[in-house]
Protein backbone atom coordinates (compact mmCIF):
# COMPACT_ATOMS: atom_id res chain seq x y z
CA UNK A 1 0.00 0.00 0.00
CA UNK A 2 2.19 2.84 -1.12
CA UNK A 3 0.16 5.43 -2.87
CA UNK A 4 1.29 9.02 -2.90
CA UNK A 5 -1.24 11.82 -2.51
CA UNK A 6 -0.06 15.33 -3.31
CA UNK A 7 -2.49 17.96 -2.02
CA UNK A 8 -2.43 21.68 -2.82
CA UNK A 9 1.33 21.75 -3.23
CA UNK A 10 2.90 25.16 -3.81
CA UNK A 11 6.66 25.56 -4.06
CA UNK A 12 8.91 28.60 -4.30
CA UNK A 13 12.53 29.44 -5.02
CA UNK A 14 12.84 32.69 -3.13
CA UNK A 15 10.05 34.88 -4.52
CA UNK A 16 9.51 32.81 -7.63
CA UNK A 17 6.69 30.28 -7.51
CA UNK A 18 7.67 27.10 -9.35
CA UNK A 19 4.76 24.78 -8.49
CA UNK A 20 1.17 26.00 -8.27
CA UNK A 21 -1.61 24.17 -6.44
CA UNK A 22 -0.54 20.70 -7.54
CA UNK A 23 -3.02 17.91 -6.75
CA UNK A 24 -1.90 14.49 -7.85
CA UNK A 25 -2.70 10.92 -6.76
CA UNK A 26 0.03 8.48 -7.66
CA UNK A 27 -1.06 4.85 -7.65
CA UNK A 28 0.95 2.09 -6.01
CA UNK A 29 2.98 -0.36 -8.08
CA UNK A 30 2.47 1.66 -11.20
CA UNK A 31 4.80 3.80 -13.25
CA UNK A 32 3.80 7.44 -13.27
CA UNK A 33 5.57 9.75 -15.69
CA UNK A 34 5.88 13.50 -15.27
CA UNK A 35 6.50 15.28 -18.57
CA UNK A 36 6.81 18.90 -19.61
CA UNK A 37 9.23 21.36 -21.18
CA UNK A 38 12.45 22.41 -19.42
CA UNK A 39 11.84 24.60 -16.41
CA UNK A 40 8.22 23.53 -15.95
CA UNK A 41 8.93 22.30 -12.41
CA UNK A 42 8.85 18.56 -13.04
CA UNK A 43 12.18 17.84 -11.30
CA UNK A 44 11.21 20.13 -8.42
CA UNK A 45 7.96 18.21 -8.01
CA UNK A 46 9.83 14.90 -7.98
CA UNK A 47 12.33 16.19 -5.44
CA UNK A 48 9.48 17.27 -3.16
CA UNK A 49 8.53 13.62 -2.77
CA UNK A 50 11.80 12.74 -0.99
CA UNK A 51 12.46 16.27 0.24
CA UNK A 52 15.75 16.65 -1.61
CA UNK A 53 14.82 20.31 -2.06
CA UNK A 54 15.44 20.81 1.65
CA UNK A 55 19.12 21.32 0.81
CA UNK A 56 18.34 24.45 -1.19
CA UNK A 57 18.35 27.40 1.19
CA UNK A 58 15.88 29.56 -0.72
CA UNK A 59 13.42 26.72 -1.36
CA UNK A 60 10.05 26.69 0.40
CA UNK A 61 7.05 24.38 -0.02
CA UNK A 62 3.46 24.59 1.23
CA UNK A 63 0.77 21.93 1.12
CA UNK A 64 0.74 18.25 1.87
CA UNK A 65 2.27 15.10 0.44
CA UNK A 66 0.96 11.89 1.98
CA UNK A 67 2.68 8.57 1.57
CA UNK A 68 0.56 5.83 3.11
CA UNK A 69 -1.56 8.57 4.68
CA UNK A 70 1.41 10.07 6.50
CA UNK A 71 2.34 13.64 5.71
CA UNK A 72 6.00 13.59 4.68
CA UNK A 73 6.40 17.29 5.49
CA UNK A 74 6.16 16.26 9.15
CA UNK A 75 8.45 13.23 8.79
CA UNK A 76 12.16 12.94 9.55
CA UNK A 77 13.67 13.36 6.05
CA UNK A 78 16.29 10.69 6.82
CA UNK A 79 13.58 8.08 7.42
CA UNK A 80 11.57 9.33 4.47
CA UNK A 81 14.49 8.87 2.09
CA UNK A 82 15.03 5.31 3.23
CA UNK A 83 11.46 4.64 2.13
CA UNK A 84 11.65 6.71 -1.07
CA UNK A 85 14.72 5.97 -3.19
CA UNK A 86 16.02 8.18 -5.97
CA UNK A 87 18.04 7.82 -9.15
CA UNK A 88 19.54 10.95 -10.63
CA UNK A 89 19.99 12.42 -14.07
CA UNK A 90 23.71 11.78 -14.22
CA UNK A 91 24.97 8.47 -12.83
CA UNK A 92 26.56 9.30 -9.46
CA UNK A 93 28.15 6.16 -8.04
CA UNK A 94 30.42 6.64 -5.04
CA UNK A 95 34.14 6.43 -5.83
CA UNK A 96 34.21 3.01 -4.16
CA UNK A 97 33.98 -0.60 -5.30
CA UNK A 98 30.84 -1.96 -6.97
CA UNK A 99 30.12 -4.00 -3.85
CA UNK A 100 30.61 -1.04 -1.52
CA UNK A 101 28.28 1.10 -3.60
CA UNK A 102 25.39 -1.30 -3.18
CA UNK A 103 26.21 -2.25 0.41
CA UNK A 104 26.57 1.38 1.52
CA UNK A 105 22.88 2.03 2.18
CA UNK A 106 22.18 -1.18 4.12
CA UNK A 107 25.37 -0.58 6.14
CA UNK A 108 24.41 2.90 7.32
CA UNK A 109 20.98 1.54 8.23
CA UNK A 110 22.58 -0.99 10.54
CA UNK A 111 23.15 -4.20 8.55
CA UNK A 112 26.58 -5.47 9.58
CA UNK A 113 26.38 -9.20 8.95
CA UNK A 114 28.62 -10.09 6.02
CA UNK A 115 26.44 -12.84 4.55
CA UNK A 116 23.30 -10.69 4.79
CA UNK A 117 25.12 -7.90 2.97
CA UNK A 118 26.30 -10.33 0.30
CA UNK A 119 22.73 -11.48 -0.22
CA UNK A 120 21.42 -7.93 -0.46
CA UNK A 121 24.13 -6.94 -2.95
CA UNK A 122 23.47 -10.01 -5.10
CA UNK A 123 19.71 -9.52 -5.13
CA UNK A 124 19.90 -5.81 -5.80
CA UNK A 125 22.33 -6.25 -8.69
CA UNK A 126 20.12 -9.00 -10.14
CA UNK A 127 17.01 -6.86 -9.82
CA UNK A 128 18.86 -4.04 -11.56
CA UNK A 129 19.83 -6.43 -14.38
CA UNK A 130 23.50 -5.77 -13.78
CA UNK A 131 24.57 -8.96 -11.99
CA UNK A 132 25.68 -10.90 -15.08
CA UNK A 133 27.91 -8.05 -16.21
CA UNK A 134 29.68 -7.42 -12.90
CA UNK A 135 29.55 -10.65 -10.90
CA UNK A 136 33.25 -11.39 -11.42
CA UNK A 137 34.46 -7.94 -10.44
CA UNK A 138 32.52 -6.69 -7.44
CA UNK A 139 35.79 -5.43 -5.95
CA UNK A 140 36.54 -3.17 -8.93
CA UNK A 141 35.96 0.56 -8.71
CA UNK A 142 32.46 1.52 -9.85
CA UNK A 143 33.85 4.40 -11.91
CA UNK A 144 35.34 1.84 -14.31
CA UNK A 145 31.82 0.88 -15.47
CA UNK A 146 30.17 2.37 -18.56
CA UNK A 147 27.60 5.14 -18.11
CA UNK A 148 24.67 2.76 -18.59
CA UNK A 149 26.14 0.25 -16.15
CA UNK A 150 26.79 3.03 -13.63
CA UNK A 151 23.16 4.10 -13.86
CA UNK A 152 21.94 0.54 -13.27
CA UNK A 153 24.38 0.36 -10.35
CA UNK A 154 22.73 3.48 -8.94
CA UNK A 155 19.36 1.75 -9.31
CA UNK A 156 20.76 -1.32 -7.51
CA UNK A 157 22.12 0.97 -4.80
CA UNK A 158 18.65 2.49 -4.34
CA UNK A 159 16.98 -0.96 -4.29
CA UNK A 160 19.40 -2.23 -1.64
CA UNK A 161 17.73 -0.25 1.16
CA UNK A 162 14.35 -1.80 0.13
CA UNK A 163 12.43 1.38 -0.56
CA UNK A 164 8.74 1.36 -1.41
CA UNK A 165 8.88 4.20 -3.90
CA UNK A 166 11.56 4.89 -6.51
CA UNK A 167 11.94 8.33 -8.03
CA UNK A 168 13.77 8.56 -11.34
CA UNK A 169 14.93 12.00 -12.44
CA UNK A 170 15.54 11.77 -16.22
CA UNK A 171 17.53 8.59 -15.65
CA UNK A 172 18.42 8.09 -19.31
CA UNK A 173 19.30 11.61 -20.38
CA UNK A 174 23.05 10.92 -20.19
CA UNK A 175 22.86 7.47 -21.82
CA UNK A 176 23.08 5.97 -25.30
CA UNK A 177 20.02 4.27 -26.92
CA UNK A 178 21.06 0.72 -26.01
CA UNK A 179 21.58 1.58 -22.35
CA UNK A 180 18.33 3.56 -22.41
CA UNK A 181 16.40 0.53 -23.68
CA UNK A 182 17.87 -1.59 -20.88
CA UNK A 183 16.84 0.90 -18.23
CA UNK A 184 13.36 1.18 -19.70
CA UNK A 185 12.91 -2.62 -19.60
CA UNK A 186 14.13 -2.51 -16.03
CA UNK A 187 11.60 0.15 -15.04
CA UNK A 188 8.73 -1.91 -16.42
CA UNK A 189 10.02 -4.99 -14.56
CA UNK A 190 10.45 -3.14 -11.28
CA UNK A 191 6.87 -1.89 -11.04
CA UNK A 192 5.80 -5.33 -9.83
CA UNK A 193 7.42 -4.48 -6.52
CA UNK A 194 7.77 -0.71 -6.38
CA UNK A 195 5.81 2.45 -6.94
CA UNK A 196 7.75 4.36 -9.58
CA UNK A 197 7.68 8.03 -10.53
CA UNK A 198 9.78 9.07 -13.50
CA UNK A 199 10.53 12.54 -14.79
CA UNK A 200 11.43 12.60 -18.45
CA UNK A 201 11.73 15.11 -21.25
CA UNK A 202 11.39 12.24 -23.71
CA UNK A 203 7.72 11.72 -24.58
CA UNK A 204 8.30 8.42 -26.33
CA UNK A 205 9.91 7.17 -23.17
CA UNK A 206 6.93 8.24 -21.09
CA UNK A 207 4.63 6.49 -23.56
CA UNK A 208 6.72 3.30 -23.48
CA UNK A 209 7.19 2.82 -19.76
CA UNK A 210 4.40 4.56 -17.87
CA UNK A 211 0.86 3.69 -16.86
CA UNK A 212 -0.11 7.25 -15.99
CA UNK A 213 1.26 10.53 -17.21
CA UNK A 214 1.13 14.03 -15.77
CA UNK A 215 1.80 17.03 -17.97
CA UNK A 216 3.28 20.08 -16.26
CA UNK A 217 3.63 23.54 -17.76
CA UNK A 218 5.06 26.58 -15.96
CA UNK A 219 4.37 25.03 -12.57
CA UNK A 220 0.74 24.12 -13.35
CA UNK A 221 -0.50 20.56 -13.62
CA UNK A 222 -2.29 20.80 -16.96
CA UNK A 223 -3.47 17.25 -17.42
CA UNK A 224 -3.19 13.91 -15.65
CA UNK A 225 -4.63 10.64 -16.88
CA UNK A 226 -3.63 7.18 -17.97
CA UNK A 227 -0.82 7.34 -20.47
CA UNK A 228 -2.69 6.06 -23.51
CA UNK A 229 -5.50 8.59 -23.07
CA UNK A 230 -3.10 11.47 -22.55
CA UNK A 231 -1.12 10.73 -25.67
CA UNK A 232 -4.02 9.69 -27.93
CA UNK A 233 -6.87 11.95 -26.87
CA UNK A 234 -5.50 14.79 -24.78
CA UNK A 235 -8.26 16.96 -23.33
CA UNK A 236 -6.29 20.17 -23.06
CA UNK A 237 -5.14 22.11 -26.11
CA UNK A 238 -1.75 22.82 -24.47
CA UNK A 239 -1.12 19.11 -23.86
CA UNK A 240 -1.92 18.40 -27.47
CA UNK A 241 0.42 21.14 -28.65
CA UNK A 242 3.23 19.81 -26.49
CA UNK A 243 2.94 16.13 -27.39
CA UNK A 244 2.61 16.86 -31.07
CA UNK A 245 5.80 18.86 -30.86
CA UNK A 246 4.39 22.34 -31.47
CA UNK A 247 6.51 23.69 -28.59
CA UNK A 248 8.83 22.44 -25.90
Amino acid sequence: MTSIKIKNLNAYYGEKQVLKEINLDIGEKRVTAIIGPSGCGKSTLLRCINRMNDFIDIFRAEGEIDIDDKDIMQMDPVLLRKQVGMVFQKPNPFPKTIFENVAWGPKIHGTKDKSTLNKIVNNSLKQAALWDEVKGRLKDNALGLSGGQQQRLCIARALAVSPEVILLDEPCSALDPVSTAKIEDLIVALKKHYTIVIVTHNMQQAARVSDNTAFLLNGDLIEYSDTDTLFETPKDKRTEDYITGRFG
Binding site: F88, W104, I108, C154
Partner: protein, 292 residues
Amino acid sequence: MGRLKDAVIEKILLACALISILTMIGIVATLLFETINFFSEVSIASFLFDTKWTPLFKPAHYGILPLINGTLIITIGAAAVALPLGILTAIFLSEYASPKFRQVAKPVLEILAGVPTVVYGYFALTFITPLLRKAYPETNIFNAASASIVVGILILPMVASLSEDAIRAVPRSIREGAYALGATPFEVSTKVAVPAALSGILASFILALSRAIGETMAVTIAAGMMPRLTLNPLEGVQTMTAYIVQVSLGDTPRGTIGYQSIFAVAMVLFIMTLGMNIASQLIRQKYREAYV
Protein backbone atom coordinates in the same frame (compact mmCIF):
# COMPACT_ATOMS: atom_id res chain seq x y z
CA MET B 1 57.32 46.69 -33.89
CA GLY B 2 54.64 44.74 -32.03
CA ARG B 3 56.55 41.57 -32.61
CA LEU B 4 59.73 43.02 -31.16
CA LYS B 5 57.82 44.17 -28.09
CA ASP B 6 56.42 40.70 -27.63
CA ALA B 7 59.89 39.17 -27.87
CA VAL B 8 61.24 41.61 -25.25
CA ILE B 9 58.33 40.90 -22.90
CA GLU B 10 58.91 37.20 -23.30
CA LYS B 11 62.59 37.60 -22.36
CA ILE B 12 61.73 39.69 -19.30
CA LEU B 13 59.23 37.12 -18.10
CA LEU B 14 61.73 34.35 -18.70
CA ALA B 15 64.34 36.25 -16.68
CA CYS B 16 61.87 36.55 -13.80
CA ALA B 17 61.16 32.83 -13.90
CA LEU B 18 64.89 32.09 -14.02
CA ILE B 19 65.58 34.18 -10.90
CA SER B 20 63.70 31.78 -8.64
CA ILE B 21 65.17 28.73 -10.32
CA LEU B 22 68.70 30.12 -10.07
CA THR B 23 68.16 31.04 -6.43
CA MET B 24 67.10 27.48 -5.76
CA ILE B 25 70.18 26.11 -7.52
CA GLY B 26 72.37 28.57 -5.58
CA ILE B 27 70.94 27.47 -2.25
CA VAL B 28 71.39 23.80 -3.00
CA ALA B 29 74.95 24.42 -4.27
CA THR B 30 75.93 26.32 -1.10
CA LEU B 31 74.46 23.61 1.08
CA LEU B 32 76.18 20.91 -0.89
CA PHE B 33 79.57 22.67 -0.91
CA GLU B 34 79.76 23.24 2.84
CA THR B 35 78.23 19.84 3.56
CA ILE B 36 81.01 18.17 1.58
CA ASN B 37 83.60 20.15 3.56
CA PHE B 38 81.91 19.04 6.76
CA PHE B 39 82.01 15.39 5.81
CA SER B 40 85.70 15.57 4.92
CA GLU B 41 86.29 15.94 8.68
CA VAL B 42 83.36 14.03 10.17
CA SER B 43 82.44 10.53 9.05
CA ILE B 44 78.90 9.99 7.81
CA ALA B 45 78.54 7.06 10.23
CA SER B 46 79.31 9.14 13.31
CA PHE B 47 77.05 11.92 11.99
CA LEU B 48 74.13 9.50 11.65
CA PHE B 49 74.70 7.18 14.63
CA ASP B 50 76.52 9.09 17.38
CA THR B 51 74.02 9.93 20.12
CA LYS B 52 75.63 13.21 21.22
CA TRP B 53 75.59 16.57 19.46
CA THR B 54 78.25 18.90 20.89
CA PRO B 55 80.04 20.44 17.90
CA LEU B 56 80.87 23.66 19.76
CA PHE B 57 82.46 22.08 22.87
CA LYS B 58 85.25 19.68 23.66
CA PRO B 59 85.07 16.75 23.26
CA ALA B 60 83.15 17.44 20.07
CA HIS B 61 80.46 14.98 19.03
CA TYR B 62 78.64 15.22 15.73
CA GLY B 63 75.68 12.85 16.12
CA ILE B 64 72.60 14.43 14.58
CA LEU B 65 70.21 12.00 16.29
CA PRO B 66 69.40 14.35 19.23
CA LEU B 67 68.47 17.11 16.76
CA ILE B 68 66.36 14.79 14.60
CA ASN B 69 64.78 13.49 17.80
CA GLY B 70 63.95 17.05 18.88
CA THR B 71 62.46 17.89 15.50
CA LEU B 72 60.43 14.70 15.28
CA ILE B 73 59.10 14.85 18.83
CA ILE B 74 57.77 18.35 18.18
CA THR B 75 56.46 17.46 14.72
CA ILE B 76 54.63 14.40 16.02
CA GLY B 77 53.23 16.38 18.93
CA ALA B 78 52.13 19.13 16.56
CA ALA B 79 50.50 16.53 14.31
CA ALA B 80 48.62 15.10 17.28
CA VAL B 81 47.19 18.57 17.91
CA ALA B 82 46.63 19.77 14.35
CA LEU B 83 45.48 16.73 12.39
CA PRO B 84 42.37 15.74 14.40
CA LEU B 85 41.40 19.35 15.08
CA GLY B 86 42.08 20.33 11.49
CA ILE B 87 40.03 17.55 9.93
CA LEU B 88 37.12 18.10 12.32
CA THR B 89 37.20 21.83 11.58
CA ALA B 90 37.23 21.02 7.87
CA ILE B 91 34.25 18.67 8.20
CA PHE B 92 32.33 21.28 10.17
CA LEU B 93 33.11 24.06 7.70
CA SER B 94 32.37 22.02 4.60
CA GLU B 95 29.27 20.12 5.69
CA TYR B 96 27.58 21.88 8.58
CA ALA B 97 28.47 25.57 8.66
CA SER B 98 26.14 28.00 6.92
CA PRO B 99 27.70 29.87 3.99
CA LYS B 100 27.63 33.03 6.10
CA PHE B 101 29.54 31.41 8.96
CA ARG B 102 32.08 29.98 6.54
CA GLN B 103 32.59 33.38 4.96
CA VAL B 104 33.67 34.73 8.34
CA ALA B 105 35.42 31.65 9.72
CA LYS B 106 37.75 30.92 6.82
CA PRO B 107 39.46 34.33 6.72
CA VAL B 108 39.80 34.28 10.53
CA LEU B 109 41.46 30.89 10.25
CA GLU B 110 43.82 32.25 7.63
CA ILE B 111 44.70 35.21 9.85
CA LEU B 112 45.92 32.67 12.41
CA ALA B 113 48.36 31.51 9.73
CA GLY B 114 49.56 35.09 9.26
CA VAL B 115 50.61 35.73 12.87
CA PRO B 116 54.44 36.00 13.02
CA THR B 117 55.85 32.78 14.45
CA VAL B 118 57.93 34.65 17.02
CA VAL B 119 54.62 35.66 18.59
CA TYR B 120 53.64 32.01 18.80
CA GLY B 121 56.98 31.35 20.50
CA TYR B 122 56.30 33.87 23.23
CA PHE B 123 52.72 32.66 23.52
CA ALA B 124 54.11 29.20 24.25
CA LEU B 125 56.71 30.45 26.71
CA THR B 126 54.51 32.85 28.65
CA PHE B 127 51.12 31.13 28.46
CA ILE B 128 51.24 27.43 27.55
CA THR B 129 54.37 26.55 29.54
CA PRO B 130 53.02 28.04 32.83
CA LEU B 131 49.80 26.05 32.33
CA LEU B 132 51.82 22.87 31.75
CA ARG B 133 53.90 23.57 34.84
CA LYS B 134 50.74 23.90 36.89
CA ALA B 135 49.58 20.49 35.69
CA TYR B 136 53.04 18.84 35.75
CA PRO B 137 55.37 20.71 38.14
CA GLU B 138 58.44 18.84 36.85
CA THR B 139 58.08 20.55 33.44
CA ASN B 140 61.18 22.46 32.34
CA ILE B 141 60.87 26.12 31.36
CA PHE B 142 61.91 25.13 27.87
CA ASN B 143 60.08 21.96 26.87
CA ALA B 144 58.99 20.03 23.79
CA ALA B 145 55.32 19.76 24.81
CA SER B 146 54.74 23.50 24.81
CA ALA B 147 56.50 23.83 21.46
CA SER B 148 54.42 20.94 20.04
CA ILE B 149 51.17 22.55 21.07
CA VAL B 150 52.07 25.91 19.64
CA VAL B 151 53.37 24.47 16.36
CA GLY B 152 50.15 22.44 16.21
CA ILE B 153 48.13 25.66 16.50
CA LEU B 154 50.37 27.23 13.91
CA ILE B 155 49.80 24.52 11.26
CA LEU B 156 46.13 23.98 12.15
CA PRO B 157 44.83 26.61 9.68
CA MET B 158 46.77 24.96 6.87
CA VAL B 159 45.30 21.53 7.60
CA ALA B 160 41.78 22.88 8.09
CA SER B 161 41.79 25.12 5.06
CA LEU B 162 43.35 22.66 2.58
CA SER B 163 41.25 19.73 3.87
CA GLU B 164 38.13 21.85 3.61
CA ASP B 165 38.98 22.63 -0.02
CA ALA B 166 39.47 18.92 -0.71
CA ILE B 167 36.20 17.91 0.96
CA ARG B 168 34.22 20.62 -0.77
CA ALA B 169 35.65 19.58 -4.13
CA VAL B 170 33.78 16.27 -3.84
CA PRO B 171 30.93 16.70 -6.32
CA ARG B 172 27.53 17.61 -4.98
CA SER B 173 25.98 14.80 -7.03
CA ILE B 174 27.83 12.18 -4.99
CA ARG B 175 26.58 13.71 -1.74
CA GLU B 176 23.03 13.80 -3.09
CA GLY B 177 23.32 10.11 -3.92
CA ALA B 178 24.17 9.42 -0.29
CA TYR B 179 21.45 11.68 1.11
CA ALA B 180 18.90 9.99 -1.17
CA LEU B 181 19.69 6.66 0.54
CA GLY B 182 18.61 8.11 3.88
CA ALA B 183 22.04 9.10 5.19
CA THR B 184 22.51 11.73 7.89
CA PRO B 185 24.86 14.68 7.28
CA PHE B 186 27.43 13.02 9.54
CA GLU B 187 27.30 9.79 7.53
CA VAL B 188 27.56 11.68 4.27
CA SER B 189 30.63 13.58 5.44
CA THR B 190 32.49 10.76 7.19
CA LYS B 191 31.55 7.87 4.89
CA VAL B 192 31.41 9.52 1.47
CA ALA B 193 32.91 13.01 1.34
CA VAL B 194 35.98 12.45 3.53
CA PRO B 195 36.95 9.11 1.92
CA ALA B 196 36.51 10.63 -1.55
CA ALA B 197 38.69 13.59 -0.52
CA LEU B 198 41.20 11.42 1.33
CA SER B 199 44.19 11.97 -0.89
CA GLY B 200 43.66 15.73 -0.78
CA ILE B 201 43.42 15.55 2.98
CA LEU B 202 46.58 13.44 3.21
CA ALA B 203 48.40 15.92 0.99
CA SER B 204 47.39 18.72 3.36
CA PHE B 205 48.67 16.68 6.31
CA ILE B 206 52.05 16.17 4.70
CA LEU B 207 52.40 19.81 3.70
CA ALA B 208 51.52 20.88 7.23
CA LEU B 209 54.02 18.42 8.70
CA SER B 210 56.82 19.63 6.48
CA ARG B 211 55.95 23.13 7.66
CA ALA B 212 56.21 21.86 11.27
CA ILE B 213 59.61 20.29 10.56
CA GLY B 214 60.93 23.54 9.14
CA GLU B 215 59.38 25.78 11.82
CA THR B 216 62.13 27.77 13.54
CA MET B 217 61.32 30.78 15.70
CA ALA B 218 58.52 29.30 17.79
CA VAL B 219 60.42 26.11 18.60
CA THR B 220 63.66 27.91 19.36
CA ILE B 221 61.89 30.08 21.91
CA ALA B 222 59.66 27.38 23.40
CA ALA B 223 61.77 24.21 23.32
CA GLY B 224 65.17 25.73 24.03
CA MET B 225 68.70 25.01 22.83
CA MET B 226 69.58 21.81 24.63
CA PRO B 227 70.15 18.84 22.28
CA ARG B 228 68.82 15.84 24.17
CA LEU B 229 68.02 12.34 23.02
CA THR B 230 64.82 12.00 25.05
CA LEU B 231 61.22 11.01 24.57
CA ASN B 232 59.99 13.01 27.57
CA PRO B 233 58.03 15.96 26.15
CA LEU B 234 58.38 17.88 29.42
CA GLU B 235 62.13 18.28 28.91
CA GLY B 236 63.78 20.81 26.66
CA VAL B 237 65.07 19.68 23.28
CA GLN B 238 66.86 21.33 20.40
CA THR B 239 65.52 21.01 16.87
CA MET B 240 67.60 21.12 13.72
CA THR B 241 66.32 24.60 12.95
CA ALA B 242 67.02 25.86 16.48
CA TYR B 243 70.62 24.66 16.19
CA ILE B 244 71.05 26.57 12.95
CA VAL B 245 69.73 29.70 14.65
CA GLN B 246 72.08 29.20 17.58
CA VAL B 247 75.19 28.98 15.40
CA SER B 248 74.10 31.73 13.01
CA LEU B 249 73.62 34.16 15.89
CA GLY B 250 76.75 33.13 17.75
CA ASP B 251 80.40 33.91 17.14
CA THR B 252 81.37 30.68 15.43
CA PRO B 253 84.00 31.70 12.85
CA ARG B 254 83.51 30.97 9.17
CA GLY B 255 85.24 27.92 7.81
CA THR B 256 85.37 26.08 11.12
CA ILE B 257 83.76 22.70 11.55
CA GLY B 258 81.10 24.24 13.80
CA TYR B 259 80.19 26.65 11.02
CA GLN B 260 80.08 23.85 8.46
CA SER B 261 77.91 21.72 10.69
CA ILE B 262 74.90 23.99 10.20
CA PHE B 263 75.04 23.30 6.48
CA ALA B 264 75.06 19.57 7.06
CA VAL B 265 72.07 19.95 9.38
CA ALA B 266 70.31 22.19 6.86
CA MET B 267 70.95 19.57 4.18
CA VAL B 268 69.21 16.92 6.26
CA LEU B 269 66.32 19.32 6.88
CA PHE B 270 66.14 20.13 3.18
CA ILE B 271 66.04 16.46 2.20
CA MET B 272 63.29 15.76 4.71
CA THR B 273 61.00 18.59 3.63
CA LEU B 274 61.72 18.02 -0.05
CA GLY B 275 60.77 14.37 0.36
CA MET B 276 57.53 15.32 2.05
CA ASN B 277 56.65 17.89 -0.58
CA ILE B 278 57.24 15.34 -3.33
CA ALA B 279 55.06 12.84 -1.47
CA SER B 280 52.33 15.43 -1.22
CA GLN B 281 52.56 16.14 -4.97
CA LEU B 282 52.31 12.45 -5.80
CA ILE B 283 49.26 12.04 -3.60
CA ARG B 284 47.67 15.10 -5.16
CA GLN B 285 48.11 13.67 -8.65
CA LYS B 286 46.41 10.49 -7.62
CA TYR B 287 43.61 12.51 -6.05
CA ARG B 288 42.89 14.27 -9.32
CA GLU B 289 41.79 10.94 -10.74
CA ALA B 290 39.69 9.88 -7.80
CA TYR B 291 36.35 10.97 -9.21
CA VAL B 292 35.76 11.86 -12.84
